[in-house]
């Protein structure tokens, strides 16, 4: 069977702190995978990487064999390097060539040769730092782009008799090399590098949905509206169909009202469907988070401490709920401090400590593992 989620050497740094160090995970479909570890072990960081809230510093994540984090580190670096190498090579001849045609008498002067060499060195430098997404390199790059454009236009205005064909080849190559770099620049992955967070909603559309450790409900909205927002990606009425109240829109709203109520019935909140979310008790709010996550019809559900703050009866209800969700065909990754819940639910457990994967195995193996006991209780004296 193929794993639904796979992490290969996943790591995340915050400045000097390594929150995750080369984690390897494999999650198989229709299983409940537990992640445990002491506080600060990097469990929630792992979840944030999975949902795209953090960008991993290294490694790869695959969901159903598709990379979650766009492979900018390898793929984009490579294409930028190739493109910019071509660009640099061409630009070396470029200025001399233009000057030769525009100011024929000055071409072979020493100062000019030095100047061209300097420009060439600068361009090579820019290309080197372009790969690291340095702002100054990109701005210099744009400056060169404008200069090149200027010279291209200039070349058109100069009377040409002899090497007309050569000039057109030149202009073509100019357009190709700059066009290539510009295309990379406006592509999704590069925009992401500049701080546009484009990833999170796309990842949730792929079928990963999560709950939060510190409850993040839409507190001032009603319970049913919370679940409807969770179903956002399954609905598709746009601005005009809403404004004109087309039949498709009305029908969709009606259908989803029933569907959301059925989700609420599953978690046992249908009696409070029209109350404000902030008026729910703590345990109910956790259940509502699960209902909201389920409403987007995910394939993988990430639960971050769902049983925190629940009494034994509530948590036993939660256990049967999570089992029911699993049996309906979902895969679940579970973070939980309550070992009773974890041992009852999990099929496979990963143990993290200070960002390192210290153990993995079935529940029984983990219970006996000396490393895990040491991480939780401290070393033997």
């Amino acid at each position: 069977m193929k794993p639904i989620l796979k992490a290969v050497h996943l790591s995340k740094n915050f400045g000097g702190l390594q929150a995750l160090k080369a984690i390897d995970l494999e999650v198989y479909p229709q299983k409940i995978v537990g992640i445990i570890g002491p506080n600060g072990a990097g469990k929630t960081t792992l979840f944030n990487c999975l949902t795209g809230l953090y960008e991993p510093s290294g490694g790869q994540l695959y969901f159903q064999d598709q990379p979650i984090v766009p492979e900018l580190s390898q793929h984009i670096y490579k294409s930028i390097r190739i493109a910019s190498f071509v660009f640099g090579l061409i630009s070396f001849f470029w200025i001399g060539f233009v000057l030769f045609y525009t100011y024929p008498q000055t071409v072979f002067k020493l100062e000019l040769c030095l100047f061209v060499t300097f420009i060439f060195a600068l361009r090579i430098l820019v290309i080197k730092y372009l790969n690291h997404y340095e702002a100054w390199a990109w701005s210099l790059y744009f400056m060169f782009l404008f200069i090149d454009t200027y010279f291209t236009i200039r070349l058109f205005l100069v009377p040409i008799h002899v090497h007309a064909l050569l000039i057109y080849i030149w202009i073509l190559s100019f357009i190709i090399c700059h066009g290539y770099v510009l295309t990379i620049l406006i592509s999704f992955e590069t925009r992401k590098c500049f701080g546009f967070k484009m990833g999170v909603d796309r990842i949730s559309k792929m079928g990963i949905s999560r709950t939060f450790q510190n409850i993040r409900l839409f507190q001032n909205l009603s319970v049913i509206d919370n679940v409807k927002i969770g179903a956002h990606i399954c609905m598709n009425s746009g601005f005009f169909s809403t404004m004109l109240r087309l039949d498709s829109h009305v029908q969709e709203e009606k259908n989803w009202e029933q569907t959301t109520l059925s989700y609420l019935r599953d978690v046992g909140l249908e009696n409070q469907a029209f109350h404000l979310a902030s008026s729910l008790s703590y345990g109910s709010q956790r259940l509502l988070e699960i209902a909201r996550a389920l409403a987007s019809k995910p394939k993988l559900l990430l639960l971050d401490e769902p049983a925190a703050g629940m009494n034994p009866k509530e948590s036993s209800n939660l256990i049967s709920l999570i089992r029911k969700i699993r049996d309906s065909g979902l895969t679940i990754i579970l973070i939980e401090h309550d070992m009773k819940v974890m041992m009852k639910l999990a099929d496979y457990i990963y143990v993290l400590d200070h960002g390192v994967l210290i153990a993995e195995g079935s529940t029984d193996a983990i219970r006996e593992n000396p490393k895990v006991i040491e991480a939780y209780l401290g070393p033997k004296i």
Binding site: T51, L53, G195, F196, K197, M198, V200, D201, S204, K205, S209, R210, F212, R216, L217, F218, Q219, N220, L221, S222, I224, D225, K228, I229, G230, H232, I233, M235, S237, G238, F239, T242, M243, R245, H249, E253, E257, Q258, L261, E270, N271, A273, F274, H275, L276, R292, S296
Partner: protein, 332 residues
């Protein structure tokens, strides 16, 4: 029939009958004040989309108001297009500028965003003042022809009263429909919690820009009506103070609640006229002081506005529950 529907019908009849009641010589005066009130209702409903629903503090709303007014003024003077076309073009122009402002400023949050929008409104005024070839600068545009329908030019006060009423109801219907839909819920989600909204699959960029564009186009519609009604526009009419006034209406009425913002306009705009009558001549300029005092008192007594968002929501939920309950014999 429900109580609420009766109430609605009574209010609509009262609003429609208002111009027919003779107020003696002051009819025109009262109608003009009411038209202003409805105009400000349109504007505050538009601003409410960005500031109330989506939760972004927008201090530059008056920029779009000005853009709409100048679009209408210039189109009337140069081409004399029919009123419907002008309103549509003004709305489209407002939306374009809303998108142009929204896309680059989306990465900013909170106060920084407010500062940028403030800068935008100042930019609009500066542009209007300095680009003489287009806007005639500080001379303003005068003699904008009144809208005409089927050959009849609108001139009386009650004509404009009904015109603004029609515009207001169109805006109200659109906002009502948007609010209770996928788009409106996405806006609320962004306001309540951006991270959770993203994890629910809401594209922040798309929905923020959408809110901006719709809000801007409603502001431009208000501006277009204003230009046609007043027949004279001037850069000084679109100063920062207007933005603050509209924001005050929303804050007073309750951020994010539709009827709250309308109530805010209904209370504050006539107040300035009432104060103009009550106050003696030498205290005339102190009416801004009284605005301030009223706002302070309101914030002390009802910090979430007259009709807070939560109350409006729970009211809406009650109706939704009743509606569902009617369809099912048992509780769903």
């Amino acid at each position: 029939m429900h109580d609420l529907q009766w109430k609605k019908i009574v209010i609509v009849i009262l609003v429609l009958l208002l111009p027919c009641i003779p107020f003696g010589s002051s009819t025109d005066y009262i109608l003009r004040i009411l038209t202003t009130v409805y105009l400000y209702m349109i504007l505050s409903l538009g601003l409410n989309i960005v500031s109330g629903f989506t939760g972004l503090l927008d201090l530059g709303y008056v920029g779009f108001y000005g853009i709409g007014a100048y679009t209408a003024g210039l189109l009337t003077i140069h081409f004399n297009l029919p009123f419907g076309v002008i309103i549509l073009l003004a709305a489209v122009n407002g939306a374009i500028w809303g998108i142009l402002l929204g896309v680059p400023t989306l990465r900013l949050t909170g106060d920084y965003f407010a500062i940028v929008t403030f800068g935008f409104s100042e930019l609009v005024v500066l542009f209007i003042r300095n680009e003489l070839w287009l806007t005639r600068g500080p001379m303003g545009i005068s003699g904008i022809a009144s809208p005409s329908f089927f050959g009849h030019s609108l001139s009386e006060s009650w004509h404009f009263y009904y015109l603004v009423l029609v515009l207001l109801s169109i805006v109200l219907v659109i906002i009502h429909r948007l609010e209770d839909s996928r788009i409106g819920r996405a806006w609320y989600a962004i306001r309540e919690d951006e991270i959770a909204a993203q994890c629910c699959g809401i594209n922040l960029v798309k929905y923020k820009v959408m809110a901006f564009a719709i809000s801007a186009s409603i502001g431009a519609v208000g501006g277009a009506f204003y230009a046609k009604w007043f027949t004279f526009i001037h850069p000084d009419m679109f100063k920062f103070w207007e933005s603050v006034l509209i924001l005050c209406l929303i804050v007073l009425g309750g951020m994010g609640s539709i009827y709250g913002t309308m109530l805010g306009a209904l209370l504050i705009i006539p107040l300035s006229e009432v104060l103009r009558i009550i106050l003696p001549q030498y205290l005339m300029n102190s009416r801004y002081l009284i605005y301030g005092i009223i706002l302070v008192i309101m914030m002390r007594l009802r910090p979430d506005g007259l009709i807070p968002f939560q109350i409006a929501q729970s009211q809406k939920n009650k109706h939704a529950q009743k509606r569902l309950f009617r369809h099912h014999e048992t509780y769903p």
